[in-house]
Amino acid sequence: MKDIIITVKQQKTELKWLLACFGLAILLNIVSIIIYQTSWTEIFTQILWELLFTLAFYALSFIIRFLYKRIKK
C-alpha cells in the first residue's frame, strides 16, 4: 500500500481554501441578515449553520479542484 504524502505547501493551500470557505459562509449569513432584516447577533448565534456551509463549500471546492486537475492532466 502506498503512503499518501501531504506536503506543508499543500496543507497551507488547503487551510487557505478552508478559511476562504468559512469567510464565504459568514458572508452568506450577513447577506441573509440584510435580506430578511433579522438580528445581527445571528452572525454568532448561527455559527453552526456557518460551519456547516463552510464544510459544504470546502467539499464542493475540493471536488471542483480535483476534477480540474484531472482534466488538466
Binding site: V31, I33, I35, Q37, T38, E42, Q46, W49
Partner: protein
C-alpha cells in the same frame, strides 16, 4: 417566605430591574402595603384578628394566616357549631363566639374578617367599621347594588382599613402580566374574554334538611346571586385593570339548564360588557362542563395574554434566523409547484403556539376548588391587609376596584333577570 409580595422568587432581578418598586406601586397602588420595605418597617408587630365565618373559605384564610407572622387570630365566630369547632382546633387559644355583634364588642380585637354568606356582608362590614375595627370582607362586597354603595360610603366615613377579597390584584403573575400589557407587549387591546367552567353541582353535604339554605347558601337568591357574585366578580375586575376603563353597559342571558335541583341561581350564564371605547368583554360560566376550565384572555393586535395560565402569545410567530429563511426560500423556489390559489380560503383555526411564561415558577390553578387555591395571591392579600391594619393605612384603590367588580357582577345579574341592556347607573359611580 409568604409574608411579602413574592414577585420574584419568580424572577425578581428581571422584574424589578425593568420596573422598580416605585414604578410598580405607582402603576398598581394597592400593592403599597405588601412591599418588602413595608414588611421590614413593621417587623415584630401584630394585628389581633377576629374571624367571622369559619366555613370552607374561612378555614382557607385561617390556614393562610398561620403563615403570616404579623397576624394573630384571637377570636372566632360562627353560628354553625361544627365549623366553629373545626376552626377552634386550629386556634385553640382564640375566643369563640356564635354572634358577631358580641365579637365586635371585644376591645382586644383590632381587625375582623367577614367570610360569611354574601347577604351578611353588608351589615357585618358596616357594623365592624362602625365599631372601629379594620375589616377584611370576602368578595363580592354585597348582595345588592345599594349594599355595595353603603359599604363604600361607610368606609369613606371612617378611618379604618377595608379590604375586599380580590386576590388576583395581588397574584404575582397577574401583576407582572398587567405590567406587560400596560407596557404595550400585546399592542392595543381589542377585546377581552373571561370564563369559568366547572362540572359539579356546587352543593355541600347537608347533615339535616333545615340546614340546606345555611350551608348551600350559594344556590339561593336570598343569600347569593350565584355565579356572577361567587365567580365572575373575581374575573370582571381584570377587564378594568387591563383596559384602564370602566364598562358603560352590560347585557346577557342566564338560565338553569342542567342542575334543576331546586336551586334559584343560574347554572349557565353569558354576559357581554361594553366599554366606552367599544371594546367588549365577554363572560361565560357553565357548571356542567369543565373542558375549558377558567381563564381571562386579553386580546391585543400584537398578541394575547392568558392571565390564569400566566402565558402570552404573539400574533406573528417570531421569524426564523435569516440564514434558515434563505435556505427555506431556495428550497421552495426549487421544489414547490406553482401556486393555484391565494391563502384567503384557508380556515383560521386556533393558534397552536405554546406561548411564553409571564414568570418562572408560577402557581397555576385549575379553578375546580370551591374554596381557594395555593399561590393565587391570597396570602399576599392577607399580608397586605395585616400591614395596612397595623399602620392604619387605607387602600382606597383596592376598595374602588372591589366595589366596581361587585357592581358589574350585580348589573350583569340585573341584565340577565330583565333580559335587557343595562347602562351603568351614574349614581353608582364613586
Amino acid at each position: 417566605m409568604y409574608n411579602e409580595l413574592d414577585l420574584n422568587n419568580i424572577n425578581r432581578r428581571d422584574f424589578f430591574s425593568t420596573l422598580g418598586v416605585g414604578g410598580l406601586i405607582a402603576m398598581f397602588p394597592w400593592l403599597q402595603s405588601c412591599t418588602k420595605e413595608k414588611n421590614e418597617a413593621i417587623r415584630g408587630e401584630k394585628v389581633r384578628i377576629g374571624m367571622i365565618g369559619t366555613g370552607s373559605r374561612g378555614m382557607y384564610h385561617l390556614n393562610n394566616l398561620l403563615h403570616i407572622p404579623q397576624a394573630e387570630v384571637v377570636a372566632l365566630c360562627d353560628n354553625y357549631e361544627p365549623h366553629l369547632q373545626e376552626a377552634a382546633a386550629l386556634y385553640p387559644e382564640a375566643k369563640q363566639y356564635d354572634n358577631y355583634c358580641k365579637l365586635l364588642e371585644d376591645k382586644n380585637i383590632q381587625a375582623v374578617m367577614v367570610v360569611t354568606p354574601l347577604n351578611e356582608h353588608e351589615q357585618m362590614a358596616m357594623d365592624a367599621l362602625s365599631a372601629g375595627k379594620h375589616v377584611f370582607c370576602e368578595k363580592s362586597m354585597a348582595l345588592t347594588l345599594a349594599g355595595c354603595k353603603k359599604i363604600h360610603d361607610t368606609y369613606k366615613q371612617h378611618n379604618q382599613v377595608l379590604y375586599i377579597g380580590q386576590q388576583r390584584l395581588f397574584d404575582p403573575k397577574y401583576v407582572k402580566a398587567m405590567e406587560m400589557i400596560h407596557s404595550g407587549l400585546i399592542g392595543s387591546i381589542t377585546g377581552m374574554k373571561a370564563y369559568w367552567y366547572r362540572n359539579n353541582d356546587w352543593r355541600r353535604p347537608v347533615p339535616s334538611p333545615e340546614l340546606e339554605r345555611q350551608i348551600n347558601w350559594r344556590l339561593y337568591r336570598e343569600h347569593s346571586a350565584g355565579l356572577v357574585t361567587e365567580l365572575a366578580a373575581h374575573q370582571l375586575q381584570v377587564g378594568d385593570w387591563a383596559l384602564g376603563e370602566r364598562p358603560e353597559s352590560v347585557t346577557g342571558f342566564g338560565d338553569i339548564v342542567y342542575w334543576k335541583d331546586g336551586r334559584e341561581v343560574y347554572d349557565n350564564i353569558s354576559l357581554i360588557y361594553r366599554y366606552p371605547s367599544g371594546i367588549k368583554m365577554s363572560y361565560e360560566s357553565v357548571i356542567s362542563n369543565k373542558f375549558l376550565g377558567l381563564e381571562e384572555l386579553i386580546l391585543g393586535d400584537k398578541g394575547t395574554m392568558e392571565l390564569e395560565k400566566g402565558k402570552y402569545y404573539f400574533e406573528e410567530a417570531q421569524p426564523a434566523p435569516g440564514i434558515m429563511q434563505l435556505i427555506n426560500d431556495i428550497e421552495h423556489s426549487v421544489f414547490d409547484n406553482m401556486a393555484f390559489a391565494g391563502p384567503s380560503w384557508v380556515p383560521e383555526t386556533a393558534s397552536i403556539s405554546k406561548g411564553y411564561p409571564v414568570l418562572e415558577n408560577m402557581h397555576v390553578t385549575s379553578g375546580e376548588s370551591s374554596t381557594g387555591a395555593v399561590g393565587d395571591g391570597s396570602i399576599e392579600l392577607l399580608t397586605a391587609f395585616c400591614n395596612s391594619a397595623i399602620v392604619n393605612e387605607k387602600n382606597d384603590r383596592l376598595v374602588e376596584e372591589a366595589y366596581y367588580s361587585s357592581v358589574y357582577a350585580l348589573l350583569g345579574l340585573q341584565a340577565m333577570d330583565e333580559k335587557r341592556i343595562i347602562t351603568f347607573p351614574e349614581e353608582l359611580t364613586i
